[in-house]
């Protein structure tokens, strides 16, 4: 049996699950744009309800953080770049390279913003069926010219379907390499290369098989989409989110 991944749709009957997927997608877009502009208090005001939503949806926080450890590498690089390149009061100087107070603060804020966007995405994915995400993307992209909305919807739903699979495969491939004492090789580039080559090969093979399986079941871009019907609850959620985003963006610090 495959190991459970925390990133993916989690069936349930919570308020998040019952909201119309189009409204949830709009809320996600608003939150994502807002956090990229918000300061510390605005981010706090959005992160705390986000963490409450994670608990409400039953996503195990510890497992989620473990799944996101590769994101931590990216965040560290972002933080280091900001901390080392922003001029200001030096906190620490090694071999003529200084980490500044202002740089550390700016780097921390950027990392917090990126983490908040990821958190919002995880909540959205956990509470929305991929078929509904596909339908919502199609509906929301339809008015925009020159964008093949049906293809975009299918691509996004498949991407969401593949994320837990890729994480599982990365774990299995890493375990298989550890079983053959990869730790004895001290060169991190060699270890990364062997992991990535094996993992990418498996991902492409699986993608190829999936394409064949989809063809076998008459895949077409003109598939039946789920029907949506907006209720007052959806509009309320949208207005509440909009108000919260406006407030978060308006707080000066």
């Amino acid at each position: 049996m495959a190991e459970l991944t925390t990133l993916g749709f989690r069936p349930g009957r919570s308020l998040f699950h019952r909201l119309d997927a189009r409204f949830k997608l709009l809320c996600l877009a608003m939150i994502s744009i807002t956090v990229l502009r918000a300061g510390v208090w605005g981010l706090t005001g959005l992160t705390v309800p986000g963490l409450a939503a994670v608990c409400r949806l039953g996503i195990p926080l510890r497992s989620m953080l473990k799944e996101l450890r590769y994101l931590a590498v990216l965040l560290f690089l972002v933080f280091a770049a900001r901390a080392l390149s922003t001029p200001g009061t030096a906190l620490l100087t090694v071999s003529g390279v200084s980490i500044t107070r202002e740089g550390a603060a700016a780097g921390g804020l950027v990392c917090w913003r990126l983490t908040s966007v990821v958190l919002a995405g995880i909540i959205f994915i956990a509470a929305t069926r991929p078929s509904e995400i596909r339908g919502a993307v199609i509906r929301l992209l339809a008015p925009i010219p020159f964008i093949p909305e049906r293809r975009a919807g299918t691509m996004i739903s498949l991407l969401i379907r593949f994320i837990p699979m890729i994480l599982n495969q990365a774990r299995e491939t890493a375990d298989a390499q550890r079983a053959r004492c990869i730790e004895c090789r001290k060169n991190p580039v060699f270890r990364l290369k062997t992991l990535c080559v094996a993992l990418l090969r498996r991902i492409f093979e699986d993608a190829e098989q999936l394409v064949v399986a989809m063809e076998a079941r008459c895949y077409t871009e003109d598939r039946t989409s789920p029907r949506f019907s907006a209720t007052p609850r959806d509009w309320t959620a949208l207005f509440v989110t909009a108000a919260a985003c406006a407030a978060a963006a308006g707080i000066p610090f």
């Binding site: 049996m1 495959a2 459970l4 993916g8 749709f9 069936p11 069926r129 991929p130 078929s131 498949l158 969401i160 379907r161 837990p164 699979m165 599982n168 699986d206 098989q209 999936l210 064949v212 399986a213 989809m214 063809e215 076998a216 079941r217 008459c218 895949y219 077409t220 003109d222 598939r223 039946t224 789920p226 029907r227």
Partner: protein
């Protein structure tokens, strides 16, 4: 009436290797055919021609009287395929979504899709599994999800590529029970395997493929004699001169 008619079917891979060479085969509606052969004999390539995933380089394949080359979608609606690796054919994030994938592609309205999905899941004993994640199911359950996916498309011919591979004993029994029930309901079945012990007693006919050609074709009990020469193990009961027995009894 023959629902599948294959005549002179030839297929070559991109590197020039001949995978199938002049296969002639007709399958009657409601028949249960086991296609046996060693690894690399061309079984899977043959099956992929039946629902137009591959098109003939020579000869032709008629599904319900229509050439797969002329109308691949007709072939895919009529012939549903369960792949060897059940994980690779899971498209949906939940069992319900996965079973609904085929009917959605057929453009049915949501109510009709719901009726078909519910009926297909009940038919394979998966009622109540709607919100489960397919990747977390057991091997036997995953195969049944795949079967439900093609039942929901109301395919008349069901094609199974090595359906018992990687399954434990309970998993084999679950899938075998399902296959036997589908045959009893009147579906036409084609099943490839190199392990005849599990299924042969339930089949109407055995076809043996070796090096891309049909080398034997006939009633199972008679055709299986001396099949070892083609890289397939003859069931123990047949070796000992006893009647073939079922894993379900």
């Amino acid at each position: 009436m023959d629902i599948l008619e294959v005549s002179g079917l030839t297929h070559r891979f991109a590197d020039g290797t001949t995978a199938l060479s002049g296969i002639d085969l007709a399958v009657r509606e409601g028949e249960f055919v086991v296609v046996a052969g060693a690894n690399g004999s061309g079984k899977t390539t043959f099956l992929r021609h039946l629902n137009a995933l591959l098109l003939p380089h020579g000869g032709r394949v008629l599904v319900d009287g229509v050439s797969t080359a002329d109308d691949p979608v007709h072939a895919r609606r009529t012939v549903g395929m369960v792949f060897q690796d059940a994980d690779s054919q899971v498209v949906g994030e939940t069992v319900y979504d996965d079973v609904a994938f085929g009917p959605e592609n057929l453009g049915l309205d949501p109510e009709q899709i719901h009726r078909r999905v519910t009926a297909a899941m009940a038919a394979v004993g998966l009622a109540g599994f709607e919100d489960q994640r397919p990747h977390l199911l057991s091997g036997g359950e995953k195969r049944r999800v795949a079967i439900a996916g093609i039942l929901a498309m109301q395919s008349r011919v069901l094609v199974f590529d090595e359906p018992f591979s990687n399954l434990d004993y309970p998993g084999v029994r679950q899938v075998l029970e399902q296959i036997v029930a589908l045959h009893r309901q009147g579906h036409t079945l084609l099943l490839t395997t190199h392990d005849l012990e599990k299924v042969l007693v339930h089949a109407d006919r055995l076809v043996v493929i070796s090096a891309g050609s049909v080398v034997r074709d006939g009633p199972p009990a008679a055709t299986v004699k001396g099949i070892d020469a083609f890289g397939v193990r003859e069931p123990e009961a047949s070796r000992n001169g006893m009647p073939l027995s079922s894993w379900l009894s």
